[in-house]
């Protein structure tokens, strides 16, 4: 089980701010996760249409898409940041 949290337009398009998901064993990297989520419905497809722009944090730290998700308690998906 992985806890997923969504922010900004990723959250709006998926339609929820967080969820717990059972992930298939072959989903091992962030890139695998994004590909998998896109199969879960058109709201996910809409949110993750251009996966290369999606920023990802594991346990609240930025990671690359090539990173493994092994040991992740919390995975955050969001657009590029626009604070400051």
């Amino acid at each position: 089980m992985a806890k997923l949290v969504y922010f900004a337009w990723v959250r709006e398009r998926i339609g929820k701010s967080e969820e717990e998901l059972d992930l298939p064993a072959q989903v091992t990297t962030v890139r695998d996760l994004l590909d998998h989520l896109k199969t879960l419905g058109e709201e996910y497809e809409h949110a993750l249409q251009y996966p290369e722009v999606i920023r990802v944090a594991i346990n609240q730290e930025h990671v690359e898409h090539s990173e493994t998700i092994a040991g992740a308690r919390e995975i955050g998906l969001f657009p590029p940041m626009t604070g400051g």
Partner: protein, 154 residues
């Protein structure tokens, strides 16, 4: 000498620059230069009625602390404060405050500038614009210029 501990806060309420400044400098005789940066909500020539700031609780504080610690060490700062608001912010209101204190002026300028450049691109905050006519509520797009601004510190 180890770097001082930064003051980091993420909050809905406004901040008070004079109080933050005083907290950082009071009673000290080793600070020669203090730079403050305030980021404010502009109304985009009257088109914007408000900004809504969303953040990733926990990670926002953690990233701001990480960025502040980098700046403290890199520029040998004597003190650093960073406060970022979230929620609905009206034109003319404060969004973000950074204060950097150092013995000399360039370190204070660079420290505050560095923190702002990294906050923009790394701290998990997102801005949504509310139009005056109520029609559009668009997420602000990230700017290439912000990524480039961060590159100047490499």
């Amino acid at each position: 000498m180890s770097a001082p501990t930064p003051t980091i806060r993420v909050q809905a309420e406004d901040f008070d620059l004079p109080s933050e400044l005083l907290a950082l400098t009071k009673g000290r005789h080793d600070i020669g230069a203090v730079v403050t940066f305030s980021g404010l909500c502009r109304d985009e020539q009257g088109a914007l009625s408000a900004l809504e700031l969303e953040h990733y609780p926990g990670m926002a504080e953690a990233e701001m602390t990480r960025i502040a610690s980098l700046a403290l060490e890199r520029f040998s700062l004597l003190g650093l404060t960073a406060v970022h608001r979230y929620g609905k912010i009206m034109p003319g209101e404060n969004i973000v405050l950074v204060i950097a204190a150092a013995p000399h002026r360039q370190a204070a300028f660079d420290g505050a500038n560095f923190v702002m450049d990294f906050l923009k691109t790394s701290a998990p905050f997102w801005k949504k614009e509310h139009a005056v006519d109520g029609s559009a509520r668009d997420w602000v797009s990230a700017k290439d210029a912000d990524d480039q601004a961060q590159e100047k510190w490499r």
